[in-house]
Symmetry: C2
Subunit: 350 residues, 2 copies
C-alpha cells in the first residue's frame, strides 16, 4: 500500500497529514463521470458492469490526491437481488416494482448469495483493487437494514414515511423479521466485498435519523450492531475498519460508538470538537464539512478546512470528509482546493 | 376565555388536563378542508380571503376538542408582500417569480406595512377571534427570517440549498442585511397579528436545522432573538406567549430557550423527558409525538400518548402536539382518538 493514511487514521494511528475522501466522489460533478454515464444504458447498467463501475470509481483519483477510493454502486443492490425489481424513474429516484408490505411478502424474500445475484459487485471490487495497484485503499459499502427496509416498504423515495412507520408502529414484530433478514443479507454482502478486496467498509444509514431515540435503537442501530458483530474484522492479516454513518444521528453518537465500530461518519451540524469530546476515545471520526462550502471560493474553502482541523485539534483519528455527498453542480477546481487544503493545512496537527 | 389551558400551559401554570393542538390541524386530511379548497381559485386565494381563511381555521375545532386554533395562512406571506411574486406550482411547492440574489436585490426590498400589504392576514385574525368567541385561544405565526430568506434566495423549495448557502458562505454581510430586514418585517407582522387578536405567536424555523451550530447561531437564532425582543409580550393586560420551533434543532434547545421565548416546539427525535431536563425550568415544551403514529390504530395511538405523558411526567409546562405537521392522508377518526387520549390520560399528571 503506497498510501495507507486512511486505514491508519480509522484505527487512530499516527499519520503524516489528515487523510481525505468525499462521499459521492465518483459522481455527476465530474464531466468524465457524465460522459461514462451517457455511454451506459442506464444507472443500474453502470453499477452492474464491473468495467464501467471500475472506470467511474477511479475517475476522481486521477484528478485529486484523495486518500481512498470507494466502490461505485448503489445502496439498493440487495433488495434488487431479493427480486423487488429496482428501477430509476426520472425525477423520482429509485423505485421498486414489487414493494414489501406484509409478513407473507417478507417470508418470500431470500437472503441473496452475494457471490451469485450480487456477483457483479464482487467483480467490480476485485477489478478496482487490481487497477488501484495499492495506490490507496478501497472502501466497500452497504445501506443499513433500516434504510433498505424504508425503500422496500415505501416502494421508492418518500417524504412522509407513512408505510414504513405505519408497519413499524402497528406490527413491530413483522418489521423485525424483515430487518433481521436484511441484517443477515448485509453481513454476507459486506463480508463478500471484504473477501473480494474491500479494505474498509461503511454502512450508510440514510434514514435512521427520521426515528425517535427509542425507535432508532430498536429498529436501526440494533441491526447495525448485529452486522458489526458478524463482519470479518480481519482479512489476510489486515484489520478491516468499519464506519457507521447515520444521517441526522448526532443525538446517538455514544450509542453508535458503543457498537464496536471503528469510526463514525459525521454531518456538519455538530462541531467535530464536540463529537470528539463525546466519543473520540473509542472511535475515529469522519467528517464534517458542509458540502455547500464547495460552492464558495477556494479562499473560503481553505478557511473552513482550517476551522475544522483546528476544531478536531491535534491527535489521531480524523478522516476528513464532507458531511454529506458532494452536490452535482460543484466545480471540480473547488474540490481540488479542498483536498489540497486538507493536506497542507493539517501538517501541524500531526 | 372558556378554555385557557393552552395559554396557561405555555406560561407553566397549572391546568386540569394537558392542552393539545396539532400543527397543520386545518388541512388536507379533513374532507371539509378539501371542499373549501376546491371552492377557492388557488391556495393563495384561500389565505388571502379572510372569510375562507376563517372557515378553514375553525373546521378542526368543530370536529375535535382542540385547545387552540391557529391562523390558517402561509409562511411566505411576507416575501410575497415584499413583491417577490409568490406562486404555487403543482408538485414543486412554493416558488418566487423574482428571487433575491444580490445586495442590489435586497436594497430594493421594503419592510411591508402589515396593515397594508398584509391587511388580509389581520382581517382574518380579527374575524377568527370574533367567530371563536372566546372558545379557545388563537395562535398567530410567521416563518423565521432564515427560513424566509431560504425560499427568497433559492426561489422555491430546494434539496441542496446551494444558492442560500453559497451566499451565506461567500458574502455573509449581504446575507445579514437580508436577515436584518426580514427580522424587522417579522416583528412588525407578528405585532400586528397580536394587535388584531392573536393570543400567542409561533415562529417556524423550518430550515434552521440545515445549518452547522456556528451558522445556526449567527444566521438563524440571532434574528429570532431580535424578534422575541421586539414583540409585544403583553397586550391589553394579557401575556402573549411566544413559541420558537426550529425543525431538526434539538442540538440547540438550551440556546433557543435562552432567547427569552416562552416555549419550544419539539420534534419526536428526543424523548421529552430529556428536553425537559435540559431546559424545562426556563420554558414550556410543545410536542412531541411522531405524526406517523396517527397511521397506526387508535389503540396504538393511545399507548404512544401515554408514553409521552409519562415521559414529561408531573408538573406544568407541557402543550401536547405532533412533532411536525399532520400528514394529509391521516384518518380524522385517528385524530379524534389522539385528542381524546391526551385529555383523558393526562388527568393524573395534574
Amino acid at each position: 500500500m503506497k498510501n495507507d493514511r486512511f486505514l491508519r487514521a480509522l484505527q487512530r494511528q499516527s499519520v503524516d497529514v489528515t487523510p481525505v475522501w468525499m462521499m459521492r466522489q465518483a459522481g455527476r460533478y465530474l464531466p468524465e463521470y457524465r460522459e461514462t454515464r451517457r455511454r451506459a444504458k442506464d444507472f443500474m447498467t453502470l453499477c452492474q458492469t464491473p468495467e464501467l463501475a471500475c472506470e467511474v470509481t477511479l475517475q476522481p483519483l486521477a484528478r485529486f490526491s484523495l486518500d481512498a477510493a470507494i466502490l461505485f454502486s448503489d445502496i439498493l443492490t440487495i433488495p434488487d437481488a431479493m427480486g423487488l425489481g429496482l428501477y430509476f424513474s426520472e425525477g423520482e429516484g429509485p423505485c421498486f416494482e414489487r414493494p414489501v408490505r406484509t409478513q407473507a411478502d417478507i417470508n418470500k424474500l431470500g437472503v441473496p448469495d452475494p457471490n451469485d445475484a450480487l456477483r457483479y459487485v464482487m467483480d467490480a471490487v476485485s477489478l478496482i483493487r487490481r487497477e488501484l495497484a495499492g495506490q490507496v485503499p478501497l472502501i466497500g459499502f452497504s445501506g443499513s437494514p433500516w434504510t433498505l427496509a424504508t425503500y422496500m416498504v415505501e416502494g421508492g423515495t418518500t417524504k412522509n414515511f407513512s408505510k414504513i412507520k405505519g408497519l413499524m408502529f402497528e406490527q413491530p414484530q413483522v418489521m423485525h423479521t424483515l430487518l433481521d433478514k436484511l441484517a443477515q443479507a448485509v453481513t454476507a454482502y459486506l463480508n463478500a466485498q471484504i473477501a473480494a478486496g474491500a479494505q474498509a467498509v461503511m454502512i450508510f444509514d440514510t434514514w435512521g435519523g427520521i426515528l425517535s431515540t427509542r425507535d432508532y435503537l430498536q429498529f436501526s442501530l440494533h441491526y447495525m450492531q448485529q452486522i458489526v458483530e458478524g463482519l470479518s474484522r480481519e482479512y489476510e492479516g489486515q484489520r478491516i475498519p468499519v464506519i457507521l454513518f447515520t444521517k441526522d444521528g448526532n443525538e446517538w453518537l455514544e450509542q453508535i460508538a458503543a457498537t464496536g465500530c471503528d469510526a463514525l461518519g459525521l454531518d456538519w451540524k455538530l462541531p467535530i470538537s464536540m463529537a470528539r469530546k463525546r466519543v473520540g476515545s473509542q472511535v475515529a471520526l469522519q467528517g464534517n464539512m458542509d458540502p455547500c462550502i464547495l460552492y464558495a471560493s477556494p479562499k473560503r474553502i481553505r478557511e473552513e478546512v482550517a476551522t475544522i482541523l483546528a476544531s478536531f485539534g491535534k491527535g489521531n483519528g480524523h478522516v476528513f470528509n464532507l458531511g454529506h455527498g458532494i452536490h452535482p453542480n460543484i466545480e471540480p477546481e473547488h474540490v481540488n482546493a479542498f483536498i489540497e487544503a486538507v493536506h497542507t493545512l493539517s501538517v501541524p496537527y500531526h
